[in-house]
Amino acid sequence: MKTKKSAGNVLLGNEAMAWGIIEGGATVVASYPGTPSSEIMGAVNGIKSEHGLTIHTEWSVNEKVAFEVALTNSYLGRRSAVMMKQVGLNVALDPLMSSAYTGVEGGFVLIAADDPGPYSSQTEQDSRYLASFAKIPVFDPSSPREAKEMVKRAFDLSEQFEIPVMVRPTTWVCHARQGVPLGRIEGGDGAPTFKKDPQRWAATPRFRYILHKELNRKVREIATKNNPEPVFTPQGAELAVIASGVPYAYAYDVIKAMGQEKRVALYKVDLPYPMGPKIDDLVQNHLQTLILEEPYSVIELQIRCREKVRGRLDLTIPSEGELTPDNVAKAIATILGQEVREIGEPPAGGRKPSLCPGCPHRAAFWALKKALPKGIYPSDIGCYTLGLNLKAVDTCLCMGASINQAAGLYQSFRQAGAEIPPIVATVGDSTFFHAGVPALINSVHQGACFVLLILDNGTVAMTGGQPTPASNGPGKRMEIEKLTEGCGVDFIRVVDPYDVPLLIQLLKEADQYAREEERGVAVIIARHPCLIYGGRDEKREEGEIIIGEECDSCGVCTKRFECPALQEGPQGTPVIVRALCVNCGVCLYVCPQVAIERR
């Protein structure tokens, strides 16, 4: 992300957390991009260069790598932070679980950003569950300002108890803007010292038991002091609302707007895990209690006696989807026996996301559909998931799964002795580096035969154009060709997807190699820089695209190719939207009448 000039201290939640990391004195910061967490690292890098800081920052190849690099700095008595989205934490779950046992010397803060809704993820899972699963404390900020302070508090708590600490913001903290006061940038940590202690850092199962006992002691002690903070405490309140994160903010606004501060008590939870004993007293002392949290129920499940407790578990609040001021207001009004104001949501519709005009992925998907129309197309996580719109994406499970699913398809058809259809996995360059490499090694080693189409646009585009291991960096640039060769692939071709006829031909050859000759995995690298983040495209031809008289309004270019620059005009004829058209010329190959020309 390019650092933009900031006017005043109005910060995006992600920028505020970056300041928390810097002011907290971190010396190693690592991340893998993912919505809604991506802008934290961009902001850390921006502050680092603006203030001439020497902290080590890296966009790691995946979340597990980022976690382990940052964690080790905290083994050495120094402060570190690692940032990722909630599903990224699944990838880093292994080191998370184990590091809770080993603990840390220097403060170690894990920021896992959740996506209730979800807006831009394959699940709306709750990272606070993983904090409680790992038995580490988790902060749940309700605003950008608070998120920054909680990052700093997390460093302190982490150091005090020698335990990794999670900060779990959600979308409307990460992508909210607010005035945020800035503090001083501290000097950072001293020299790293590695105190050899094999019973801790290399503990065998027998010592792991002791570490677990120690972890339980830490969690119990943190819980003792962790009780809900009173916000509105009217005498004889019939309802107590206990809330954390953004739902707390909704509750505050809604109770005030309803004028119910004199009837409804409001308590705020900063640390949803581990909860102390006082929450049970609160529940006992009120007629009813409403727990507001998202996306799952973490606080609610820690309450011992839930008979008087309402929340997501008894469906007072729907148990899926994000909380909104509307469903919070509805829940409170219903419990108070008040009339609920119903206002319909905006009608569905609107415009769905689409690949950009001139996106090289669209060209690649078009060629794929032309070359192997009867194929099965496992795909992956990134902008190119929007290949769905071109019906060129059949599966999307999680990072790197496309390659394993292609292998799984092959093994299933082969085992059954059935005719094997063309199988083409599509994966982006960054996703390939992230989790695709072990998958490819496995496919090759297990003798799977399929086509792997690597969509190489040179960047992590969906999340804002972060670098990949093939970008320039402090060390060597990785080359996808060599990497695939090293994985044992013998069929490797590189092509610019704008050359649609050549890509069609190569896909047919690759399918022949993989399917008819059964010789293994055939790799095609479709390489063309991202039009948004890839810098200037020097090779693009001159001349405007026009629609000639041969056009018979068949709708192929507007509906099936679905380029945003080709819109249906009044009489159903396609019209080129000049403001959007980038003159890529890919549509010249798309028109069945060859009516689209370059002038």
Partner: protein, 183 residues
Amino acid sequence: MDLQMVIVGLGGEGIIFMTRVLVEGFYRSGHPVISTETHGMAMRGGSVTSQIKIGDYQSPLIRYGEAGMLLGTSVVEAQRNRPFLREGGTLFMNTDQQGDYCVDATKIAHGLGNPRGGNLVLLGYVLAHLAPAISLEPFLEVVKGLSPERFLSGNVKALQEGWRVALKADKKRRKGKGIRRHG
């Protein structure tokens, strides 16, 4: 000031930039403010929404039926998101259609030789309806701070022109049926 605003449009139209100008401008004007914006997959040309709350608010999301102002960079998105508006709230649209609070910001921006400046014309137009509770100065400062050098003077002019057009339209309206104030 107590005001809830919603901005709607399509990904890539510059909604985030508009939101930043408003939020930082209100902040500089001394008003507490919190806002949201859309990132990620929805940004790829899909429908996007920004919400801005000025006043004693803790959360950035606006309930349906509570926005005092709804700003649409396109008519389709503006009409679809009408449920956000409270009774008596105002819908501002960038459109070539005639109507109260409609402004052909795109055309005005073209006239200024800044075809990308339509959003800022619309913003200037909207902000004028909050005068005299706010002045344009802090917002101009923010635009200057956020604009790349080559767009700086064009962007400043666009914001000023929107403000001017609104005051002119307001005068006309006052001659007719009286004016509506916001904020």
